[in-house]
C-alpha cells in the first residue's frame, strides 16, 4: 500500500516512516507541505495520507480540504498527526472529513491503533 507522509520537519517524517515500517507498511513517500503533496496525490495511486497541520506553504487542514474537494481523492483515508491541540481545530478537521487525529507527541501504540481503526472502517 502506497502511503504519503506530509510534514515540514524531516525528522518527524522519518519517525512516522519508521513506525509505519514496523507496522508492515514499507511503501512510503514524503512531502514537506501541502503544495508539494497535492500534485503527488493527484498523480500517484496513494492509498493513505498522513499529514501534519502546521506547515508553510499549504497547511494540513487546507490539504485535507483540497483532497476532499477532488473527486479522485475524495475517499482517500487521511490521518492527521499534529501538535495542534485546540478543540476548535479538532472539530474543524473532523468537519473537513479527517479519518483520524493524533496529537504529538504520540506513541507507536497510538499511531497503530488509529491506523488499524481507519482501515477497519474503510475496509468494512
Amino acid at each position: 500500500m502506497k502511503i504519503l507522509i506530509v510534514d515540514d520537519f524531516s525528522t518527524m517524517r522519518r519517525i512516522i516512516k519508521n513506525l509505519l515500517r514496523d507496522l508492515g507498511f514499507t511503501n512510503t513517500h514524503e512531502a514537506d507541505d501541502g503544495v508539494t503533496a497535492l500534485p503527488m496525490l493527484r498523480s500517484g495511486d496513494f492509498a493513505f495520507l498522513v499529514t501534519d497541520w502546521n506547515m508553510p506553504g499549504m497547511t494540513g487542514i487546507n490539504l485535507l480540504k483540497e483532497v476532499r474537494a477532488d473527486p479522485k481523492l475524495v475517499a482517500l483515508p487521511v490521518l492527521m498527526v499534529t501538535a495542534e491541540a485546540k478543540r476548535d481545530q479538532i472539530i474543524e478537521a473532523a468537519q473537513a472529513g479527517v479519518n483520524g487525529y493524533v496529537v504529538k507527541p504520540f506513541t507507536a501504540q497510538v499511531l497503530k491503533e488509529k491506523i488499524d481503526k481507519i482501515f477497519e472502517r474503510v475496509g468494512g
Partner: protein
C-alpha cells in the same frame, strides 16, 4: 536603564503651576489684565519647557534601550553591520532547530543501524536453539552435529562482534543527548534577552505615558484595536495546555471529542 522623568521635575512643574494660578486669580480680581496676560504667557512657557524635558528624556531612554539591544555588536566585528540582540536571538533559535534536528537524525541513524544487527542475532539464536534442543534430546545425526558445531562457533563470533557494535551505537545515542544541555543553555540566553527587552519596553511605555499625561494626548482609545484571532489558526505545540480550556490535554481528550462528534 534609569532615566525616567524625575519625580522632582514633575513636582516642580506642579508647584510652579499652582503658584502661577494663584497669582493669576489675584491679578484678575484686581483687573490687572496686562500682568495676567504675562502670567498666562509664562504658564505656557513652563508647560512647554516641561514637555521639552519629557520628550528629551523619552528620546534618551529610547536611545538607551536601542543601545542596550545592541550590546553584542562588538562580538560580530564589523561596525557597519551591527546585528541587534534580536537578530542574535533569531540566530540562536535557528541553532536550536538545527541542533535538535541533527541529534534526532543521528539517533535515528544509530537505531536504524542497530535494528538489523539485533534482528539477525535473534534469528540465528532462534535457529540454533532449535538445533540445540534436538541435540539435548539426542535426535541429532553426526553430520548435523558437525554442522551445529561450526554454526555455534560462527554464532558466538557474530554475537561478540554484534554486541560490540550494538554497544557502540547505544553509547553514541547517549552522547547525542548532549544536545539537550547545549540547546537548553542557548534557550536560557534567549529567555534572558526577551525578559530584558520586555523591561526596556515597559520602561519606555512608562515614560511615554508621562509625556502623554503632560501633553494631554490620549492615544489609549485608538491604540486598542481588537486583535482578531482565528480560532483554528495553527499554534504549534501547546506549552500551557493544562491552563487552557480550549485545548485538549492529550490523545484521550482527542478521542473523546471525536467520538462525541460521531467518530
Amino acid at each position: 536603564m534609569e532615566t525616567p522623568i524625575s519625580q522632582h521635575n514633575g513636582e516642580a512643574f506642579v508647584a510652579e503651576l499652582k503658584q502661577c494660578a494663584n497669582l493669576l486669580v489675584s491679578k484678575l480680581q484686581n483687573d490687572d489684565f496686562e500682568d495676567a496676560s504675562a502670567l498666562i504667557h509664562s504658564l505656557v512657557e513652563v508647560r512647554d519647557r516641561h514637555i521639552f524635558n519629557s520628550v528629551g528624556q523619552l528620546t534618551r531612554a529610547l536611545h538607551d534601550a536601542i543601545v542596550n539591544f545592541n550590546v553584542d555588536a562588538s562580538v560580530h566585528g564589523k561596525a557597519d553591520m551591527v546585528p541587534s540582540q534580536i537578530r542574535d536571538a533569531s540566530d540562536r533559535l535557528q541553532y536550536v532547530i538545527s541542533m535538535t534536528q541533527e541529534a534526532a537524525e543521528k539517533t535515528m541513524d544509530r537505531v536504524e543501524a542497530s535494528a538489523p544487527i539485533a534482528m539477525s542475532l535473534g534469528q540465528e539464536a532462534a535457529i540454533l536453539r532449535k538445533e540445540w534442543e534436538k541435540l539435548r534430546r539426542r535426535e541429532i545425526s553426526k553430520t548435523e552435529f558437525s554442522g551445529l558445531y561450526d554454526r555455534m562457533s560462527d554464532f558466538l563470533e557474530q554475537m561478540n562482534v554484534g554486541a560490540e557494535q550494538l554497544n557502540g551505537h547505544l553509547q553514541a545515542i547517549i552522547l547525542e543527548q548532549g544536545f539537550q544541555d547545549l540547546t537548553g543553555q542557548v534557550l536560557k540566553k534567549v529567555i534572558g534577552l526577551v525578559t530584558n527587552v520586555e523591561k526596556e519596553l515597559v520602561n519606555l511605555m512608562r515614560i511615554a505615558g508621562q509625556v502623554e499625561e503632560v501633553t494631554g494626548l490620549d492615544v489609549r482609545a485608538e491604540a486598542k484595536e481588537v486583535q482578531v484571532v482565528n480560532r483554528t489558526d495553527a499554534e504549534g505545540p501547546q506549552i500551557h495546555a493544562a491552563k487552557r480550556d480550549d485545548v485538549v490535554q492529550g490523545q484521550d481528550d482527542v478521542d473523546d471529542l471525536l467520538s462525541s462528534l460521531g467518530f
